[in-house]
Symmetry: C2
């Protein structure tokens, strides 16, 4: 069973400082835990209800050395951030940050996305559209924040994320940089090059002035009604969709 000590340990991972010192993160709920089990990521432990363990037998068979702790729903709620959890909580080592340059034809770059829910949703959208290499500014929300992982709905297992100073890093990539602006060329009429970077800016302020000179193509989503802007996740989905109409992944 899940000991009080283990519950205390899992709770401690809700705090960034502890995640960094332990070099561990956790995910909770059926969807995220299953995605982690099904991935080839190393795992450190799993606390789960008997029913969920039954449900995951096939996956668990592939991870014979994984430490498994049967737990009650009440214990999972105590240890995690969910108001209810009929499934489990899994914890895993934080992967090493990539050191090589990204190689995918199209990359997503995120400048100062502060809201963890937005970052998670962006990972999910990027993964849907086959943008699996993502470069975040150091001020973007932390990838292993439980809210990011939850909103990503398992996509965090399929994307590689760099945290880099964008002003220094983007020029190294030697690609055209498409930046989303409220003015710019109509995304419906744009010819996308074979490779590039799609740069999306902060929720309230857009792309930082310091990065504006790196943008080689300003992209604008045409507006047909009264709203002043789209939220960053919707805007990213729309631009990715327009890009993928032209260039298959």
């Amino acid at each position: 069973m899940l000991s009080k000590q283990k519950i205390k340990f899992l709770k401690s991972l809700q705090i960034k400082k502890n995640r960094l010192s332990e070099q561990l993160f956790f995910v909770e709920g059926a969807k995220s835990v299953k995605e982690l089990l099904a991935s080839d990521w190393p795992m450190a432990g799993l606390a789960a209800t008997e029913a969920f363990l039954q449900e995951c037998q096939t996956f668990l068979g592939l991870r014979p050395k994984l430490e498994v702790f049967p737990a009650t729903e009440a214990q999972l709620v105590q240890a995690g951030t969910f108001a209810s959890n009929k499934a489990g909580i899994a914890w895993a080592p934080i992967p090493k940050r990539p050191t090589e340059l990204p190689t995918a034809p199209w990359l997503l770059a995120l400048d100062d996305i502060r809201d963890p829910g937005n970052l998670g949703t962006l990972l999910r959208i990027a993964d849907w559209y086959g943008f699996q290499q993502i470069i975040c500014s150091p001020t973007t929300a932390e990838l292993y924040n439980p809210k990011v992982l939850h909103a990503s709905m398992g996509s965090f297992t399929r994307v590689t994320v760099w945290y880099q100073d964008l002003a220094n890093f983007l020029p190294k990539l030697q690609r055209p940089v498409h930046g989303a602006y409220l003015d710019g060329d109509n995304v419906h009429e744009l010819s996308f090059s074979e490779q590039g970077v799609l740069l999306m800016g902060n929720e309230a302020n857009g792309i930082s002035p310091a990065l504006a000179s790196l943008v080689t193509q300003k992209v604008h989503i045409p507006q047909f009604g009264g709203a002043e802007s789209l939220n960053v996740a919707a805007a990213t989905a729309v631009i990715c969709d327009n890009l993928r109409r032209q260039l298959r992944a």
Copy 2:
């Protein structure tokens, strides 16, 4: 100044039951309060910092009868739901629900969108794409929930929202119904008719089985990576964008 009694009254409007009995709702923060002031909606009162009142002088000149209560930031935080509020809180009568049928060429119908943040984001996306008539199932989040209004970023002032049983209401509209499904015809290759309804389903379960027979065109957004689905707001934005490429508002 804002009395203790007024603060208590504003706090009471955070609860749906009280909004219904008072027939009043409130919005908070600079963006929403300004959008409400700039709209032609009736208003019942405004509590705001001196700085914000200065900033809004032009709008306030157009509403000479509006009751205005100077307030401190601390009072605004006490009365509202925000962790900080340098601007104000405005309250207004809940408009009468529309009784006539919607007439816009394209309508958005929302089946059981439970999350208030999602509903607000959907109003903003719909407003951006010129879908200003929206039909919600009775189980969809309540329009005057502070989280809905906040996420809509002022778009609630420009959209008209029906709450109707969709199984009874959609047939009355006598239009093609495009429903978003994980299978269906590729949205990139679709010909949209001049008028119709775009039906989006619940966050976890999609469109209810009871409505499936009303869908005349299943629409699918092509996927290029590993994510199982897009979130409902991103999917709505993408379909609206594809529709507006063909049919201008």
